[in-house]
Symmetry: C2
Subunit: 398 residues, 2 copies
Amino acid sequence: MISFPEAIRLIESSAAESEIVSVPLEHSSGKILREKILADRDYPPFNRATMDGFALRSQGFSKDRIYSYKRELHAGESFSLEEGEETIRIMTGAPVPEGFDLVIKVEDSTDLGNSDGKRQVRFDTDKTSSFSNIAIRGEDLKNGEEILSEGTRISSSIFSLLASLGRSRIQISKLPKVRIISTGNEIVGLEETPKPWQIRDSNSYSIRSLLQKYDISPISIVRVGDDLSQLEKAVLEGLDSDILILSGGVSMGNLDLVPKVLEGNGVREIFHKVRIKPGKPIWFGMKGRQAVFGLPGNPFSVQVCFRIFVESYIRKFLCLPTESSLLLPFSGERKKKNQLTEFFPVRLEKKQTTVLTENKNNGSGDIRAGIFSDGLAVQFSEKEKVQEGELLEFYPWN
Amino acid sequence: MISFPEAIRLIESSAAESEIVSVPLEHSSGKILREKILADRDYPPFNRATMDGFALRSQGFSKDRIYSYKRELHAGESFSLEEGEETIRIMTGAPVPEGFDLVIKVEDSTDLGNSDGKRQVRFDTDKTSSFSNIAIRGEDLKNGEEILSEGTRISSSIFSLLASLGRSRIQISKLPKVRIISTGNEIVGLEETPKPWQIRDSNSYSIRSLLQKYDISPISIVRVGDDLSQLEKAVLEGLDSDILILSGGVSMGNLDLVPKVLEGNGVREIFHKVRIKPGKPIWFGMKGRQAVFGLPGNPFSVQVCFRIFVESYIRKFLCLPTESSLLLPFSGERKKKNQLTEFFPVRLEKKQTTVLTENKNNGSGDIRAGIFSDGLAVQFSEKEKVQEGELLEFYPWN
């Protein structure tokens, strides 16, 4: 039996790498970037007024002078200065004409009315140094500068940035093909009425929902009993995927066939059993570039193993960096007797600061175990007791 | 000009409520539940063995005795005890037969071989009280008990729970129809080559991406210049939606037509301008059950206003509870001179504990402003300086 960090290390070192595909920008939001992105021009591309006001020269500026102007410049327009033009009216977002280097905001001006077909204005401000109220060409980003590197998740602001840069197609990580097999004689379909000693299949539903975080839809979901030939058939079909996820059939019982069938079909075991709770019986193997996870059958164990192990694989596959957990104070006390690293459901609660509070339940078989929780906290193997206020690693569900 | 909390209060009190629709379970993940959910039977539905081992009676148990057995019970099977049967082999997940109330795990047993066609076994454990290693029928949930209330977001564990309960159809909040209008003469489409004083439309992209958090796809995205008749036409069409979001055209410039056109089309102004930065010029109004947001034109202002204001509306519309921010320590120092409540991009960083660090940039016009940030931190209007370690409200993007 191996430790949790060792299991993560093995998963990451075994992982295949997804292919790169080019998609229209519209389809790239939330996906993983697989190319470097450079600025296509300076940003801002021109000296941009950041206030509505007047553009003029900072040199020789005087509060006592009366300035006259006749032209207005709006965002989306441009013009060159005429001989003798001493100021212009300018709107936010408009390019400050070459020759001017100062914008005085309209609130700091006094309109003095018309004279000789020109409007007259006086300014009352001390903010008159060069480039006041101007975003200078290239100050955010220089033409050709690298702004995004490979392995970046395309968040809303990055998506917006890519549009600004005019990127109509983007290279991203191709999503993995995932198949799900739910095993167990006690499991019946949603459409059936379970006998008193049977339970309905819920694991394939939670796996499907957990995959949504990465925008992945499973290409198939199969339910099989603890029957060798049925399982063989499902596994053979399932091995046409990047990631095959089974639930049930990996613990100690006589009918726990999954490891046997997987190995019989050429899937090499990387590990079986990890010193964690819940999820100890987890099985992980590879066949060439294909990953296979055998998760335990308890609903909450499935959720934990997916969050901790399957997500580590998916991130590595997609070329995302290794996830860093958060470190937050625990509210309450918690003891454990075993030598396992425990993952337990917690909520974020706003007290003096944001703290983790345990979502109490009757253990991994409790169908309520994970509900209303914001994520998982970790009590490491050697840690017998967690005290009030102690910092714990926290993995949010989302 | 109103304050940030006042704006949120006005948005929430103005919001229409979405209709309720019934969908197949498969389509409900991530959506908002709009019915009460009760347990359809006891959970667990039977006394379930939580370990592989032996089932027997706790009364009269003795370590010194030799027990004999002949039958095995697996998950998904059931049988009644026979006269004189003193123990059976039982697997995790199987129903403990009526009459037995104890499971001793296999690791605590010693196999003594066969005798008279029966196998013999001895137990060495002190964990022999009634219901050891058994999940008792109904201990998680009683038949008819309410487990989920309206307004709950269907997370992965709730989705899994609904499958366990056999719910093949679910009543959820119908998603709002959203239209987007991006305004401004300086804005060109992605497919065009901008002139030096023009910029590409990125706001409609960030709004589209931000809507994904709620699984909403906009039904239309339109780009118009600062032209009265174009804008009139787009607004008229746009008012056939639950939420119309415009970007640009709400600040002070002469060409800022949006409020004028909206009011001319029967949209009642609820507020215009909020004491925040960025996003001060935001406009919000209602026409009957339809909400209209006029967001400023700067890319980062759009992202902030969406996160803070539009999301508040969407949550209320979908019947989600008001969002509670997190409260986390700030690493660094931050000053401000104005009387506005500032929202600034921060990253979560793991130091002694998880802290917020500011994502430095050149302000709301900087196309890099939000990228690589995990969310927004808040420096309230009256707060001139934030010190190292001070707790700040934090709104994660996701």
